[in-house]
Symmetry: C2
Subunit: 456 residues, 2 copies
Amino acid sequence: MASAQMAGVGGRVRKRVVVIGGGFGGIHAALGLAKLPVDITLVDRRNHHVFQPLLYQVALAVLSPGDIAQPIRSIMRDHKNVGVLMDEAVGFNTAANEVHLKTGSVLEYDYLVVATGSTHSYFGRDDWAALAPGLKTLEDATEIRRRVLLAFELAERQMLETGSHPPLNFVIIGGGPTGVELAGAISDIARLYMTKDFRHIDTKSAQVLILEGSPNLLTAYPPDLRQKALEQLNALGVTVRTGAHVTEVQPGYVMVGQERIDSVVTLWAAGVQASPLGKLLGAETDKRGAVLVDQYLNPKGMENVFICGDLAHFEQDGKQVPGVAQPAMQMGDYVAKRIGGLLAGKPSPQGFRYFDKGDMATIGRAAAVAKIEWPFKAHWSGFMAWLVWLVVHIFFLIGFRNRFAVFRQWAWTYLTFNDGVRLITGSQVLPGWETPEHEAGDRPAQAMDLGSPKTN
Amino acid sequence: MASAQMAGVGGRVRKRVVVIGGGFGGIHAALGLAKLPVDITLVDRRNHHVFQPLLYQVALAVLSPGDIAQPIRSIMRDHKNVGVLMDEAVGFNTAANEVHLKTGSVLEYDYLVVATGSTHSYFGRDDWAALAPGLKTLEDATEIRRRVLLAFELAERQMLETGSHPPLNFVIIGGGPTGVELAGAISDIARLYMTKDFRHIDTKSAQVLILEGSPNLLTAYPPDLRQKALEQLNALGVTVRTGAHVTEVQPGYVMVGQERIDSVVTLWAAGVQASPLGKLLGAETDKRGAVLVDQYLNPKGMENVFICGDLAHFEQDGKQVPGVAQPAMQMGDYVAKRIGGLLAGKPSPQGFRYFDKGDMATIGRAAAVAKIEWPFKAHWSGFMAWLVWLVVHIFFLIGFRNRFAVFRQWAWTYLTFNDGVRLITGSQVLPGWETPEHEAGDRPAQAMDLGSPKTN
């Protein structure tokens, strides 16, 4: 603990703040803290911040990974008191004010901000992860893109080879905002964007099915907007089944109780669980693993530790604040102010308060539902809600290198029904669809009839 | 062989052409053939065409994969007589006019175009492939990007942890155009783009070394341009060693004879070998595996089989035509015309002739060497050569969705020294740099001193 002693003896003047996690919470905390006379270390396993609300557009080949991600170092470049460390926190000694990193090193802090968010929860069936990827990282997004595009390619190939192909059923498990967004986007791709690309299959024959375990889609939204969302999804040809508990996920199908539902691509948009760091802190956590925090976002008994974003279980007016971008950003801002107050020796008694401006979810290329809370209260759906969604997301992309590029790309794709970024990278087989080499070799060769494209 | 019989009995009118490979040769052949009354099937293992000359800019985080790649289906969308099949040719029966695919299916053809290009050759040391990736595919490019960026991240971490880091030596094996382009680009990143991103390491301390086995850099270029290239590389701080035969590649170093050269990232830009399909055709091949072709680009004795691009060994005026984009495009165009002539029953006796407009290679952000052959002959180097390179490449990107985006991205990056697309995706460790879990756990924890950023 050489440097800790140095700090004590040599009289380190500047306090040290360690921020773990480069999502919305961590980035906002670090940017706020950067204005204070402190030395900040921002730790993340990845080198980039992802603008999560648009991740599904990468998954569905409208945007490129580079459009919605930015290196954390670039974001912090002009803040000389912020150091960025690409590493992973694996433990804490809160009594000694230490963070233990995967490499074996230790970071010492005066204040600690933990904002490591959440990941998918497969409800104890981690073997489903490979069969039904979720959407949290850029890698997840390109993997989903790969699978969806590959499903169409394989169907075309099977059509040529055998004259038929298994139905193009896409199954999305979970009917929250991510599930609804993925469903709408897959429907768009199949019905609007790819119809002219294939000669032998009809991409419009693709079926998108949302399986939601609870009685309702979009449970966080009011009933009128849920109903609108359902209508808009149906208009896109998306089938929604509520109260449908998935009991098994296998290559090529899922089971809902005794019923088998064929699926060429299964996507996971159901459970999330908090980062394990909450438990590693030794703090009290809820059943998702999120840390119960007080009005200052401190876990009980840890006054120099703050939790931001999805990892925080914060209740306001009797309701838990949702795990989305806005509360995370606001928590990050708050924590920076709070630490500023503590450093100045005059902390405000004011606790954190989530200022809810509303929620929205898109449904395909030109529809959405929006629960607007500020600057006025309204429930909007359809094209107007989609326009609001567009403006808000472009606004929030400010600071992102590619804001104009993203807008141009959107405009181009939406107006022309064109291209997108439909690249299949990585492996060329779907899980469970591999043809064993020996089988392919043993099978009698089949001639394909290439001369009869479908008429369309 | 049902469909073959059908064709015979039912009187198939339209001839079938199978094109294998969606690179420059295959795409140009298919686009030319699309104007003829034939049914074309274009087969590629991947769903996208890559604009190879700019691949190194993806590897070095200036452009995104989507900027230089386009789905083959999109390119062929308006040509109703071109079907695209994502599959892999694994064999031929030229006597029966059959292509055998990996899935076990068979394509029958009247004319066959094989344009499957080349891949890296590690001279029998395929175990080097994982340690020194080459640059042929989008996956290669993002892998190189990952390794180069990660090397800087690891150095920063080591600096914090131990107060020092191994020298940031980047070793490029091979001094052809790709090696020179990679070297210049790494030097740019280290000296110009990333200097403000790190607090503890000096990215300008990075060393780039090209190891070339032959006596000269850029052997395809005339001596005066080789010399200019060497001077321009030296001005960027790139060291070039010619006559340096690499005898071993290991994590963290390479051997040149008995000499050990430390290397945080080793890249392969040395040998290429032709696609194995040349040999599978049963055609005569050269030592690289390229198919010896006559003036009509036919392998000996195969009048309905044509070879385009890198896979063709074509000699003109006593010299082999190089394996770059221009000859491949011209061969594709020629083959389409040739097949048109054969179909019309009046083939021209005119053989293929490569019209050499010149060659160029970039060296960093604003220098290049250009051997111009048309519309006038000249040897240019420096900024003017780079401008020519820029204009030519933007011109050739015509047809690519993102021509303007690419230009804007370039302009932005070149003018502002900003951002680029510096995303590390995939694994977060470099080969050979993994910290075994137990070691990390056993190692005594080390405190990092975070309070003393470098002064710059």
